[in-house]
Symmetry: C3
Subunit: 510 residues, 3 copies
């Protein structure tokens, strides 16, 4: 993680030049990137810091209080790096719990155990049985990844858990056997343990294009389980999903605006298959804790989904139930700052992607219903992958290398640093070019001086040569031999070069 160099920029903003052009909203984002290790910075670039320190003595108590607040925020916001480092030395089961919680939050691209804890609270509020299944799924997916000796860093970031929680949850949600049907845990554990295998396989393919696997393993495995058993099964029956076969009854007069607004948090909740608006609200809070940009895009995505549903004449029930929202939530988060650095262009792209995702969601839901399947998060995966594969000529749409993706605020920081570096490199290059020009001019001046010297010398030489010639005619110097030839040559450049030789020869003579 390129954390430490990054934080120095923030330090600059906090300590000294906050007045310098950074708007208020952006400062708030930067707070989340502040590192607690700041005071004990031990970098080679101490001189940089010293330059800024003299500026600090002035600030009031308010500023100092603010710095302390930021420090506290940095402990539980973002990806809680300090906590992760502290965890590394703890008891294995505690570590596992950390990974499971991070896994739970990673569904929304949030690598934060606190968010994970809050999300589990939301799930418990929704349904005990579902929450249990979700927990079992995350746990066994993580364990399976450990058994298969996957990358420890990825496991610790919860990247092997998020498909597990979705598999566990959604298998419980779509089971027709009712709550507390304990046998369901068997396929749940099996499918959760398959998650890392499918993840690893898909990563082998997607990594060729530097793409993440998103929730594709979950989509594949849940659809696999549902269609393998189906509605008509003795052991693991699924809820009946059938394609629409008649015109839905839509009366615009009957629209319930309150429910429509409620559909925004419900849409966020539906990412985890929850239809309780309070659960959705809790999820939104958990997002805000880790990354406000993510949170804003989640809400925006859900709203875009709702609007798309109305535009495509979807039954109101589906819209109220959040079915038009959850894919757009994920797509909007993924494009809006997570895998692209957030600029205005990327923000617009994220909204476009959310609309496209809503369209695709409707299409996939209709296709899948022919097999008795829900849409899962296929629409999100496919639309986000499409938008990540996009190549444009603009530099303002910058896709982060997959290894550098953390959370929107830090990504933005990375992007700014990169741009600054680019600018610096450019300025450096220009400076060098200027210097070279300057040098060339100076050399020209020197050459001219030498030229003058040479002419003088030549005149002297000619005088001497004339006098010498009368004495000893056969003792000609090389300089004298060449000199006439030079004066008859065409290009000015050659003349100058020959003159320099003459000068040095002249110097040797005298």
């Amino acid at each position: 993680m390129p954390g430490s160099p990054c934080t120095k920029d923030i330090q600059k903003n906090i300590n000294g030049s906050t007045s310098a052009a950074s708007p208020v909203t952006f400062t708030e984002l930067q707070l989340l990137m502040a590192h607690p290790e700041l005071p004990s910075e031990q970098d080679s670039s101490h001189e940089e810091k010293k330059e800024k320190d003299p500026v600090q003595p002035g600030p009031t108590k308010l500023r100092r209080a603010r710095v302390r607040f930021l420090k506290i925020v940095s402990y539980f916001a973002g990806d809680m790096e300090v906590f992760a480092k502290w965890m590394e030395k703890q008891f294995f089961l505690l570590q596992l719990l950390d990974w499971v919680l991070r896994g739970a939050a990673q569904v929304m691209f949030v690598n934060n155990p606190l968010s994970g804890l809050i999300i589990f609270a939301g799930l418990i509020l929704q349904n005990y049985w579902w929450a249990l299944n979700g927990f079992v799924g995350t746990l066994f997916a993580t364990i399976s990844a450990l058994i298969l000796q996957q990358s420890r860093g990825a496991i610790a970031a919860g990247l092997y858990g998020y498909n597990g929680i979705l598999v566990g949850l959604l298998m419980a949600v779509f089971s027709n056997a009712g709550n507390w049907y304990w046998y369901l845990l068997l396929p749940n554990i099996f499918m959760s343990m398959m998650c890392p295998i499918v993840s690893s396989a898909l990563a082998s393919i997607n990594s060729r294009w530097d793409l993440p696997v998103f929730t594709l393993p979950f989509n594949i495995l849940v659809c696999l389980h549902m269609v393998a058993t189906g509605h008509f099964n003795h052991h693991f029956p699924q809820v009946l999903i059938q394609p629409r076969s008649e015109l839905p009854n839509i009366t615009w007069a009957e629209i319930d605006v309150a429910k429509l607004f409620m559909s925004v948090p419900v849409g966020v909740g539906q990412v985890y298959g929850c239809d309780n608006p309070w659960t959705g609200g809790i999820f939104i809070i958990s997002l805000f804790i880790s990354s406000p940009i993510t949170c804003a895009h989640a809400v925006l995505g859900s709203a875009v989904g709702m609007v798309s549903g109305l535009a495509l004449a979807a039954p109101f029930g589906d819209i109220y139930f959040g079915l038009w929202g959850y894919n757009c939530v994920l797509a909007c988060i993924a494009i809006g700052g997570m895998f692209y650095a957030l600029t205005w262009q990327v923000h617009l792209l994220a909204i476009t992607c959310a609309f496209f995702c809503a369209y695709l969601g409707s299409a996939i839901a209709n296709i899948m219903s022919a097999f008795g399947l829900p849409a899962c998060t296929w629409p999100f995966c496919l639309s986000a992958l499409t938008f990540l594969l996009l190549t444009t000529g603009t530099k303002r749409i910058f896709k982060l290398p997959l290894a550098k993706v953390t959370y929107p605020e830090k990504n933005l920081c990375f992007y700014w640093k990169m741009k600054k570096q680019e600018k610096k490199d450019k300025a450096e290059k220009e400076r060098k070019e200027k210097e070279e020009q300057q040098k060339a001019i100076e050399e020209e001046v020197i050459l001219n001086e030498k030229e003058q010297l040479r002419l003088e010398l030549e005149r002297m030489e000619e005088g001497r040569a004339a006098s010498e010639a009368s004495e000893a005619g056969n003792n000609k110097t090389r300089a004298e031999d060449e000199a006439p030839g030079v004066e008859q040559q065409g290009t000015e450049e050659e003349i100058r070069q020959n003159e320099i030789i003459q000068v040095t020869i002249g110097e040797n003579e005298s």
Copy 2:
């Protein structure tokens, strides 16, 4: 574009040695590649031209008239490069119109605004509303590509427009809301503007195998729109398509041969969703203008499709309606000279591909009908991609690098040039090898001569040494020291080398 060196070959054929082995049919194809800049050729290889000029004085008026005719043809055949260059300096809206027209023709792989204009005429003949939708689709797809800063060259070649025209046209064709339902323009514009995004994303994947995206973006987006809304939708209802569920009524006695023959142009027309045979005829003409090879393969493909339909016992109605033809048309064009250099083997491969495509077309139509979808051009895309991924041991099936693909005649020219170059390289290599052999033989001769010389010298030396030895016994030369050792050594080679040394030493001595 490797245009200018290419045209020189044609020049040769036209000016001088037309009698030399090039059959009549091929000359006709070459006409289309003749460049208007020919008279003002300013290449470094003037000597080549001069060699041919003396041959020209002879030719009659007929030949001169023919050259003039070719020059005129070259202005509007092929990809109209001169026109494109002239366009670059024009007003932006005029340029945009050029790109839109080229986009309209690019559906059939034709990069020619005149063909595009004729195609639009055919569309207007078919249906005003459809033509309007097609135009809007092409326009907005091109604009979207400009906004996303896609490659200007590709935009100017119409490569971002052809999916747009198909999206626009087919959304109108499959809409159940009737003509002039103006709201349809909204999803039309949205989907058209999504075209460059999906194109770019698919190109990122396909470029790994140097494959084009064909009409995949169109297939994806139209299917997406149709299945997202479906037949039972208030805003954008689609026509009802249902899977076959009973034996079709096929009586071979009832076959209408006239309609069967008519199905060939109808099949070409169905590429743009048009069932009017006149429209299909106009399309065929537009193809002929740009590239006769393309035109021939289009008609051939349509015929193959019709035959396949009969072979697989398709309902006659489908065959008459051209549904078996349009995919084969595209597949046959793509394989037959467009992405492979046209040889007899490739021609056969194109016909095979057309049959495979017809089979696949029936399969995909049956699958898609389960979701209420038409087959679109999925069969063409999948079969052409399969045949382009093929790797064989024959050099006669040569897949052009994607960047070199222009139109069949020019591709063929590129292939011939490459082969000639290869032959030349091979001849050069052989010549060099021969020269080296010659050199080796000469060296052998020289060595033998030296050997003779050495033996003589040695004998002389021995005589002298004997006489000298008697005079001064302690003044031995190095050559004398080595000589006895050499004569006792084993391998012949070493002896010879040492002898050469002796010779030179001996020469130094004398």
Copy 3:
């Protein structure tokens, strides 16, 4: 083929140290790898053999008989390399027959004409018409590959035939027109000839991940044919397959244990679409001849499939009919020793893959039935590809490079050799490191000795210098000039280096 070095290891086991730790079951496997060229081994490592020969004089007749038996076994086990070499010089039609037989066996990853012959016998036992179609399919697929100039080695290994036999067989099995409907041979031949094209295209894609194409071409082409014609077709009607629409009648009391056990060989037989348990038994024998590991995994896979069927509450009829087995058979063979080197971890992975494959089989069967299609071997292909794309940190799960895959026993041998080489390299490296350390120590000792010498010399020098100084004060040596500066320098290292210089200078002086 890295055959000859491999056999030497086996030789060791056979001749000498069979008592050394190799269990009985493994010896049996190794037998199959014994080469008939053993007696005439002409390797550079004769000394290795000589070392072992003295051990041999003791062994009884039994051992000698065993060696002879192994030699005979090696003629027709494994991939029958000797036979293949002998075949190369035979009449073309005989060669073609060899390729066809190998192609028939390659369905089960067995490259052995004898197995192929036995498999054809099994097919004839099942159904004459099916066997004929299978033969025609293999033949034309091989011919088509020859026409398309595919790799001769792959053709000779039957890698272009196995899709052909499956296409031929399954098109006959699923045809609703009854046996001896001769027209069926037409699409059979067309589809078989398409096999190499589709194989080659898929290989272009899969080779990027070093993956085989498995039976994907067969799946694609048979599904294509079946869905293109469908149940309601006049020329080529297919059997009617419909999705399940009600709860199957499963009474656990009615279970027939005999039939359940019989389902294991039936499952193996269903790989070729045969439901006769005797045919399945014959197939098992044919597998055993070539490779016991393959055979064991085939039976294991079939059993896993049967258990999965029971676990997922499948109708008993389907389980008895072997529909749950054949995909697991193939998946278990592929993972268990064929593409991975067989270790205990890989064995467990193969069983996991078989379970996953069974699950996937049920899912795909349900999806395909919506289009009137059977599951074919899609589940096997997809599950095996997923498990081959898996990347783990363990070295015990070693995926063989595709070019090195032969049969499980030889693969294992390759893996062992590689590991031994690695160990050797490691030991070599360690040895070198030790040597270097030793050398460093020795150098240290020498340096210390020089140090002592230097001190002595210095003392002598000082004494002499003092005496000389009184005589000639202006004749200072360089060594004396440097010496004081050296003694005042900081680091010990520099001092030592300078001292060495002094020593040498001192030596020159004296």
